[in-house]
């Protein structure tokens, strides 16, 4: 396993369109629920232990079970009740595949897989393991909105990165759990939901003007 390859995969500068998505933060800011660094900390922690947990499990699964993409993809559909979030996940999956094809040799995944499935497939193609795929997935679910918070609220970037540093041990634990469960049936994989992320995404999708796609 190459640590440098993991950094390439998890780098926020990977040209896969991640910067266009706020991970639900733009909706939470507009609803007045995130105003300062403390609110952002609560948002990121809840997102990590719901969306992050699920993304990590499915990225690990897609990395370990390269023949099961379709089942995993359907499993994410069943865990994503918001159509706006399903579209956002598939748009990011497609963008990630485009970038990934230029870097590694990828199997056939369909045109628009969910983002964690695409991420797991890229990790496998890059020679990484399920745990690394899960780390990249869980980290991505919080680093994206953390960056968006600096742009949306003008928060102190040092304080925002301190939040990410504090979440790092939790990301490691989530990734280790995800890597230990790659043989579980898809129905038994984590399904932790975040009602306000679903509802915020639906409302956000109706806005005429927005800074982020989701």
């Amino acid at each position: 396993m190459s640590l440098a390859t993991l950094l390439v995969l998890a780098d926020g500068r990977l040209p896969a369109g991640g910067h266009a998505h706020s991970g639900g933060l733009e909706a939470a800011v507009a609803a007045g629920r995130v105003r300062d660094v403390g609110d952002l900390g609560g948002f990121l922690r809840g997102r990590l232990h719901t969306t992050g947990l699920v993304s990590a499990a499915f990225a690990a699964g897609a990395c370990a079970r390269t023949g099961d993409f379709r089942d995993l993809d359907r499993g994410l559909d069943a865990r994503t009740p918001s159509p706006a979030l399903r579209r956002a996940s598939r748009a990011q999956g497609r963008a990630l595949l485009r970038a990934g094809r230029a870097m590694w040799s990828l199997p056939e995944l369909g045109r628009e897989p969910h983002h964690p499935v695409a991420l797991g497939a890229l990790a496998a193609a890059a020679g990484l393991g399920p745990r690394e795929a899960a780390v990249a997935a869980a980290h991505g679910t919080v680093s994206g909105p953390a960056g968006a918070a600096v742009r949306l609220l003008g928060l102190d970037p040092y304080a925002v990165h301190a939040l990410l540093a504090r979440l790092a041990p939790e990301i490691d634990r989530i990734a280790a759990d995800a890597a230990a469960r790659t043989d579980d049936p898809v129905d038994d994989l984590p399904a932790a939901g975040a009602p306000l992320l679903d509802l915020g995404a639906e409302l956000h999708a109706t806005w005429e003007v927005r800074l982020f796609a989701s």
């Binding site: 948002f43 232990h49 939790e170």
Partner: protein, 245 residues
């Protein structure tokens, strides 16, 4: 306390529904209620004891046969309470099967997570192609002016052999970030209503923090978060009304 209860509803051959099995034990007691006339049957869960309490292990099986129509309600909220020191979490496992052309409407009062409780709720419903399901779960995080206990609710709804909806919700001190802006945002009540099968309303925003969303498969989820249960009811109750009720 361990308890099992079972409901089996089947078509009576004259356009109505009869209960072939209606069996419960405290605290899962069941009563047939409502008029005998009409095609559907209503059963109420009547709490036979306080709880669930830590250590309780409860199981309910519901089966709705072809063309039968069953509504299940409860007379009062479930109040999850801590048990004696060292008791395992309380558990309520629900299994339901809905046959083709059958309808199950599951419309209980909310579950209240009293401070200090540890409760696990597991639901698994299998709906055959052509069956209809209306499944409501409301949760209140703590009684008035108290912190929430720990509740973890796990739902799997399958339709025509595929998983339509998988959802887990964890609240309370054991659930990191649950009251943060991504999950409940300080809301103390949350409700979910799964509508599976054909013939439901169109997706819509329901006002406040509530929406009726089309699932990827044949069905919809209405989700609502509120300061209190009244806001959740205001959003979800109108979707639960049935003709003739």
């Amino acid at each position: 306390m361990r308890a099992e209860a079972r409901i089996v509803a089947e078509a009576d051959g004259r356009g109505g529904t009869r209960l072939r099995v209606l069996r419960g034990e405290s605290p899962l007691l069941l009563r047939r209620t409502g008029p005998r006339a009409g095609g559907a049957v209503t059963v109420h869960l009547v709490g036979g004891a306080a709880g669930p309490l830590g250590g309780d292990d409860l199981r309910l099986d519901v089966e709705v046969g072809p063309a039968a129509r069953l509504t299940v309600r409860s007379v009062a909220a479930q109040l999850a309470l801590p048990g004696r020191a060292g008791a395992p979490p309380s558990r309520l496992e629900i299994r339901a099967a809905v046959a083709a052309d059958a309808t199950l409407r599951w419309l209980p009062e909310p579950l209240i997570a009293a401070a200090g409780c540890r409760h696990r709720a597991g639901t698994r419903v299998e709906v055959a192609a052509g069956g209809r399901l209306l499944w409501r779960d409301d949760l209140v995080c703590g009684r008035h002016d108290e912190p929430s206990g720990d509740v973890r609710a796990d739902v799997t709804i399958r339709y025509a052999g595929s998983t339509l909806h998988r959802h887990e919700l964890a609240v309370g001190p054991g659930a990191p970030g649950w009251s943060g802006a991504a999950v409940l945002g300080g809301g103390r009540a949350v409700g979910a209503l799964v509508l599976a099968g054909p013939g439901w309303p169109e997706p819509a925003l329901l006002g406040g923090d509530a929406a009726l969303m089309p699932l990827a498969g044949p069905g919809l989820l209405a989700s609502a978060v509120g300061r209190d249960i009244r806001q959740v009811r205001a959003a979800l109750d109108p979707l639960c009304a049935a003709p003739g009720e």
